[in-house]
Structures are given as C-alpha cells and as structure tokens.
C-alpha cells in the first residue's frame, strides 16, 4: 500500500471522506438534460476566489492613505515582481465577475429557476449581485487616482438627490463634505473587511439553499416544463437516473472555468487597459476635474438614466423600482410554467429589458 493510500485510509477512518465523496461527488446526481449555463455558479466561485487571493496579495504593498495610496499602486505596478499581473487580475476580475454574474442571473431568469421553492436562492443571488457592485465601487477609490476620486465624487453625489436624508447620507458615505482621506478610510474598510465577509456569508447561504432545494431541472428537452412543486411540504428535488456530478458535470465545470480563465487572461495580457482610462494613472487632484468622467460599464445604464431624466430623484426612483421589481420577481411571477417560449410575455419583457439596458449602456458610453 502506497503512503498516499495509507494517508487516505487514516483520514477516512477518522472523518469518513469516502462517504462524503460518494454523497457529494459520484452520488450527487444531476438532471440528464443539464446544460452549460449551470456551470456559471462554479465560474463565479473561482472568480471570487481569484479576487480574494489577488486582493490579499495587493494588501501586502497597498497603503490606504490618501498621501501614499497612488504611489503604492504605482509601486505595485512597476516595482513589485509580477505586481502588474496581480493588480491587473484584480481589476479585470472585478469586471469579468460582474459580467458572469449578469449571465448567471439571466440564465436563471430565462430557465425559470427562480420559481418556488427557489425564491430565497434568487433573493440571495440578487443580494450577491448588489454586494459585488458595492465591493467594486468601494474598490474603485482605492488607487486614489483622478478616475477614482471623481468617479466616487459623482457616485456618492447622486445620493444627495434623496429627499431629507440625502445630503446627510452623502456626508455619512464620504466621512465629510467632500471625498477625501476619510472616504478612502471607510471605503477601504468596506472593501477589504466588511463586504468580503458579508459576500462570503451570503455565498454560503446561497450554496446551502441550493443543496437543500436540489438543483433545478432545465425546462429544455422535456414535454412537461411546469413547476412540479405544490407548496404543500418541503421537498428536495432529486434526479434519479441522472448524471453524477463527478466526473461528468465536474468536467463541464472545468471546461467552463478554463474558457472563462482564457477570456480573463486574454484581457489581462492583450487588453490591459480595459478596466482603466488614462485618468486612472494620474494622482487624484481635487482642484482639477477631468473632462469626461464616466462610471464602469456596469453602471453606465444607471448613469445615463440619471442624465436623461429631468431630475436625479426621479432617476433614483426609477432605478429603485426596477431593482426592487427584479429582486422580487419570484414573488410576482407565480405561474408554474418554466419554458421561456411558453412564457411569451415574460420573454418579451426580458428581451426588452436587456435591449433597454444595452441601449442605455451604449448611450452612456457615447454621450
């Protein structure tokens, strides 16, 4: 018996790893018609892990002080061995992670996987989407560049449109009247401590809910595409006769993750300026407003909405209503049908929503 087998046997006798593997890997059965879209969750776990690892490495040299932050990022990019790679992975990763999150939510919407009993899966997923946007926004300030400073000024300023509490909230967010060292301090704390912890907990809850409800069956390639759950008692959706997670779907996950990483590293190596504008490499200067400060691509639709509506309060209200509608969609759409082609009104709304979002994003980019 090799030393590896002896080690495995020693561990197995104590904590039963073989039983866990049987239950969670080879014995974990998935629907036979499962498709590639189901691996987006695994990609997101890898993307989040990459953000955590690269973020920790950046912390070794990053100095969260308004007088030193820009220089420390400059040092990481130019002096630290492979610092440029770590920083680019972190910056590009925040963008690609949001792109995959959007795709994950869209696939869930189209396949009706948010329907009962999976309302909580959707709500926690939506919460994760909001938290990831939050962690991206707070991280944006960290390099203390012109782009960071002015984008944060614009983003925090929009809150002032809220009646009564607005101006106070802006001051609370910034830690003062203007974006300054206090803002960097609190955004840094949110970015590296509070939000990652909350995201980690919500991911754990999201995965727990997935394990308790069981994985949903895709509505494609089936004659009966209605939601079978009656709402009378708790039920784990098992898939007798399905394919095992390992090795079958684990290989699909691995394929998807490799394709994601290929695109991710393609951007890192061949389009390293994707997450930046030239202002990202100029130190923050409160006296000098750059000509065209725009938010990241995933906030461009929000930015354009605020621009085209007559006042900011209306813009914030419209966005708030849209986001609330999206967050509560499992409680609004109660029909048992899950196949998108058998839900023409829903499908039309989804397509129109995507077209509107893309249109506003492009408009925001070009404006």
């Amino acid at each position: 018996m090799s030393w590896l087998k002896r080690l495995y046997r020693w561990v197995d006798l104590r904590i039963g790893v073989g039983e866990i593997a049987d239950k969670e890997l080879t014995g974990y059965l998935l629907p036979r018609n499962i498709n590639e879209w189901y691996s987006l969750g695994s990609i997101l776990l890898v993307a989040f892990a990459l953000q955590v690892v690269t973020g920790m490495l950046l912390l070794v040299y990053y100095v969260p002080d308004a007088d030193k932050a820009f220089q420390s990022v400059n040092f990481i990019m130019n002096e630290v061995p492979y610092g440029w790679l770590i920083r680019l992975c972190h910056a590009v990763g925040s963008n690609t992670m949001i792109a995959v999150l959007i795709l994950h939510m869209l696939s869930t919407l189209v396949m009706g996987s948010y329907k009962s009993p999976r309302e909580l899966n959707w709500v926690t997923g939506f919460l994760l989407f909001s938290l990831v946007q939050g962690i991206s926004l707070t991280g944006y300030l960290a390099p203390w560049s012109q782009l960071s400073f002015w984008a944060t000024t614009v983003a925090t300023n929009s809150v002032s449109a809220l009646p009564v509490a607005g101006p106070g909230m802006v001051e609370f967010l910034r830690g003062g009247k203007l974006v300054g060292p206090s803002t960097l301090g609190r955004f840094f704390a949110l970015h590296v401590a509070f939000l990652p912890l909350v995201i980690g907990v919500v991911i754990a809850v999201h995965v727990f809910l997935l394990k308790r409800t069981g994985i949903s069956t895709p509505p494609f390639g089936k004659s009966d595409t209605k939601n079978a759950w009656q709402g009378d008692s708790y039920r784990y959706e098992s898939h007798p006769g399905g394919i095992p997670f390992f090795p079958h779907f684990a290989l699909q996950d691995l394929t998807s993750i490799c394709i994601y990483l290929a695109i991710f590293f393609g951007v890192v190596f061949f389009w390293p300026t994707m997450p930046f504008t030239p202002d990202a490499f100029v130190p923050a200067d409160p006296f000098k407003t750059p000509a065209h400060i725009k938010p990241e691509w995933y906030f461009l639709a929000n930015y354009q909405t605020l621009k085209i509506l007559p006042n900011e309060l209306l813009g914030l209200t419209v966005q708030g209503v849209a986001m609330t509608f999206l967050a509560l969609i499992p409680f609004i759409d109660r029909s048992p049908e899950r196949h998108p082609l058998k839900r023409p009104l829903f499908l039309t709304l989804v397509v129109a929503g995507i077209a509107l979002w893309i249109g506003l994003t492009v408009w925001g980019h070009l404006s």
């Binding site: 007088d67 206090s182 290989l251 890192v268 390293p272 490499f281």
Partner: protein
Amino acid sequence: MTFSKASILVTTALALMLPASSPCAELPETVCIQCHASLPDKLGAPVNLWRKSIHAENGISCNSCHGGDPKNAPEAMSPARGFIGVPSEVDTPGFCGRCHPGVLKDYQASAHGKALGKGGPTCVTCHGNHDIVKASLEIINEKSCSRCHSFDRARIIRDAMQQTEAHIQGIDRRISAFQATGVDTERLGKALFAVRNSFHSLFHEVNVTRVKSESSRINAELAKLDEDLRVIEDSRAQRKVAGGVVVAGLLLVALFTHLLRKTFK
C-alpha cells in the same frame, strides 16, 4: 450575545462611520475661478482662456502667478496676501521668470529681450497671457513673427530645429502612451523635460551655427531615451507572448475536458 452587548457593538460601528473632519479636504475650485467665471467681458474672459492653457493642464492656477489667497474670497486680491495683479510691460518677463528663470535668462540675452521697453516683445506677445500655449516650434510662424519683423531668419532657425522637435514629440507620445497604461514614466518624463527645456532654450537663440550644434547634442540625449523606451516595449512584447501561451494552454485544457466529458457520455 445579550442585547446590550449587541447594541454597544452596533453603536461603536456607527460611531466609527460618523463623518470626521478631513485634514486634507480641499475646495474643488479656487475662489478666483468661482468669482471671475461669472463676471462679464475682460474680468471673466481670462477664466475661459486659462482653462485651455498649458498652465491649467499642469494645475497652475491664478494665484500661482497673481498671488493672493485662493481659498478666501475677501482676501483673494489682498496685497497683504501677495496679490500682484497685472504686471506692466517691462515687468512682464520678470513676472513669468519667477517660475521660468532659465527661459528668462535666454530671453534677456536674445534680441527680443534687449529690445524690452523699446517696442520689443515680452513673453505674452508670442506665448499669450492667459491662453498660454506649450512652448513649441509652432510659435515660430510667419503670422506671429512678421507682426514685428521679416520671417526669413526665423524660418532658417525653425527648419534647423524641426527634426529634433519631431523626435521630442515622438518620445513624448510614447511616454504618454505608456503612462496611460500604468507604466511609471516619472524618470523618463523628467529626463525628457530636461532635454526639452535645453532644446527650448534655443528658441530665443538667433545664432544658426549654435542651434545646429546644440541640436546634435540634444539628439544624442534623445537616443538614450529611445533605448529606455525600447526596453519597456520589449518587456510588453514578452508579456504578450507569455499571455498567448497561458490563453492557448487554458483553451487546450478546456478542449481536453470537453472531449473527456463527451467520452464519459
């Protein structure tokens, strides 16, 4: 955890988040700009002219030249706070020369400087006052020079300097392009700044032979900068090769796992 302990934790967390006065919080605009931007005619015009200037581009604001207090409106134009106002014609070179002492020296030694107060040009005649343009060969042009004299000699000098100027501009563009991708170009930028200043000192020179010999020396300095930039370009090319290998490797693994999954199916 008891309620009281939880409430202490929450209160402490909220207290930490309360707005604190920031030692470095600064006003977004000087009071000079805030006030003059809304004034009509010649009192407001300098603001828009300045916004397009090389001074604005480099963060040199009103008070940098005119003195005064840029943060306190009542004291903004107080002589006690160093406010100078508009210099007279003969004081203009000294006014600009506080920050550009080398150029002042070149100017004073030049035919232009020697004619100061006798109908000769001051700095603002060629460079503008508030809409100050970057010093370049474009300033030496027929329209501008022939306001006072013939363009003939100025043309010979400008043509002799054209190639060096183009070289400097080319290196400047490459440095700016690297700077826009996060490369620390401070040392290169400073070196180019020194070379450019040395070159610009020739702008007031009227001796054609000296212009030609100095241009050769400056070109040798520029060749060193060229080499430094080439090293950066090579490292960027190497990164792309490494990136290509990584991406190709990942796609191959993806293909392999995809085929393996099909085999299991």
